[in-house]
């Protein structure tokens, strides 16, 4: 399949059509006022909301440093910063515990129901308790995010490690490998496709949980911005926020996670299936 051949161009063009249709309808609504602006703000007002929110912002560097007045970028950086932090902490912990639980049958059997239950209490249901513990603010949202990321990565790693055929371990033991080498050279690589799927899932669910947590129990971030703007009936800001969330997620998923997942799985000789 040619990557940049005519097929791909055709797909891009076709895929753009519904967006163009929607965009046109949206603009027409701004002109003909089928729906009131407070319900469906005109595209122009959504665009200018960017600048309204960034009004007090001195410059790019201040925006990056989360200076005051750069409202939009502050919220974006807050949310993304928390995501990054939860990955940095949650991923290694989740993978480590997952590997441990996958290798030791008893431990795995013991931790698995804990994980199932923790996952079942979906991220959002943890928010009120998190507020009790950490108050409204970034700690709550970080906790929710960490919770989501950790358990999903743990689970997928556990399954991945369990799925590695025992005979690989035996084969490598017969070559003189130590226990540690067996873990690093057989189980971790063997579980890698599942681990990457787990990362992707945890990012998907985590991002959703983050927005929800910021809405309900946060004091900054994109979710918080949505909530506040909605309270003030500034629909154009809400629209802007939703668009930003969608774009960020699509960029992260399609540009980083999906190719990563695909590369890992295809390298193992498996057939990659969009999940």
């Amino acid at each position: 399949m040619t990557r940049f051949g005519r097929g791909r161009l055709r797909r891009i063009l076709l895929g753009a059509i519904p967006f163009l249709v929607l965009g046109t309808l949206w603009q027409m609504n701004a002109v003909y006022r089928w729906l009131a602006p407070i319900h469906m703000p005109p595209p122009a007002s959504v665009w200018s909301a960017i600048f309204t929110l960034q009004e007090g912002c001195p410059g790019l560097l201040d925006a990056l440093r989360q200076g005051s007045g750069c409202l939009l970028t502050n919220h974006i950086l807050s949310s993304m910063g928390r995501v990054a932090l939860s990955l940095v902490v949650g991923l290694p912990l989740g993978i480590a515990f997952g590997v441990l639980a996958g290798i030791h049958r008893r431990l795995g059997n013991a931790l698995e129901p804990v994980g199932v239950f923790a996952n079942a209490i979906s991220g959002i249901a943890w928010v009120p308790l998190a507020i009790v513990w950490f108050g409204v603010g970034w700690r709550t949202t970080l906790f929710i995010l960490l919770n989501t990321v950790f358990w999903l990565v743990f689970f997928n790693t556990l399954l991945g490690v369990r799925g590695v055929p025992r005979v690989y371990e035996h084969g490598v033991l017969a070559l003189g490998a130590t226990r540690w080498k067996v873990i690093t050279q057989v189980y971790v690589p063997g579980a890698l496709p599942s681990i990457v799927t787990g990362i992707r899932m945890s990012m998907g669910f985590g991002w959703r949980a983050l927005i929800a947590a910021e809405m309900i129990g946060g004091d900054r971030g994109l979710g918080f911005m949505l909530f506040v703007s909605a309270q003030e009936y500034k629909t154009e800001e809400v629209f802007l926020g939703v668009l930003v969330i969608a774009v960020i997620w699509m960029l992260t998923d399609r540009a980083c996670l999906v190719p990563l997942e695909r590369w890992t799985i295809e390298r193992w000789g498996l057939v990659w299936r969009p999940s």
Partner: protein
């Protein structure tokens, strides 16, 4: 990977019991007891347990009060009702949409990106907008649940129909089947596994959306219960609600959704690659 049905039910029951104990049943029981013990210990050792970590006993205690007043069943009922109505309709709309779009290659290539786009905007993120439109009404939550369910299943069904091997379609065409017949005999069965998986995913997302919707839109239900309980410092109720949510989801997922899904895949999965 096919299952063999056993004709002796009494044998099955004891076999299942044996399987439970062999496959980690002991660990499950031990872990539950250990967790409860740990919980009680921590709760007893911190200052103000009633605020920060009520003991399991006090959680159960609070449930007694709510049950007695009939509040708990009421809330449970409301939440489940929203979930069921929203997801059933969302799925009922999503499946035909996915199939129709999947029939034609050009149409499906056209719709794929936009479906993907809307799938990445979670229903929860749309709550503020929907609240501006319809306020904090039942309609708001319903619409959000509907939206949350529609896209994952439409997307999955679309992919499922597209990935039905061409040879089956061609085989039927050489037998002189009409378009409608092909849909009925090949594409629909071929899409069944995707429908089942998509439905499970959709309901999973919808469950989260219902809880969030109740919290934000203030509609009475389990989600609302834990949110408002936190605001009046009734942490025991919060924990109770969380436990209920967890248990409900486990029951729903493991004993309803997943069995239906694997059953469907088993029966129809032969058509897939």
């Amino acid at each position: 990977m096919s299952s063999i049905s056993v004709a002796r039910p009494d044998l099955l029951r004891s076999a299942r019991a044996r399987r439970f104990w062999r496959h980690g049943g002991l660990e499950l029981a031990l872990v539950t007891l250990l967790a409860l013990a740990l919980w009680t210990a921590i709760s007893a050792s911190i200052a103000r347990p009633d605020r920060y970590l009520p003991s399991p006993v006090s959680v159960l205690d609070s449930s007694r009060d709510l049950l007695w007043k009939g509040i708990l069943p009421n809330y449970l009922g409301q939440t489940l009702w929203r979930l069921v109505t929203g997801s059933l309709i969302g799925i009922a709309l999503g499946i035909p949409f996915g199939i129709l779009v999947g029939l034609n290659r050009t149409v499906s290539e056209m719709c794929y990106p936009i479906l993907n786009f809307f799938q990445s905007i979670s229903g929860i993120a749309l709550l503020p907008i929907v609240m501006i439109w319809w306020g904090t009404t039942e309609k708001t939550v319903f619409v959000v649940v509907l939206y949350t369910c529609f896209f994952p299943i439409a997307f999955n069904v679309l992919t499922g129909v597209r990935s039905t091997p061409r040879i089956y379609v061609n085989a039927l065409r050489t037998l002189g089947a009409s378009r409608l017949r092909i849909v009925r005999d090949v594409l629909l069965p071929g899409a069944m596994p995707s429908i089942a998986t998509g439905a499970r995913l959709s309901i999973g997302y919808a469950w989260r959306a219902v809880i969030a919707g109740e919290m934000l839109a203030g509609r009475r239900g389990i989600g609302w219960m834990i949110f408002s309980a936190q605001q009046v410092d009734r942490t025991a109720q919060v924990v109770l609600g969380m436990a209920l949510i967890g248990v409900l989801w486990i029951l729903l997922d493991r004993y309803v959704l997943r069995p239906i899904e694997s059953d469907t895949i088993q029966r129809w999965g032969l058509v897939q690659r």
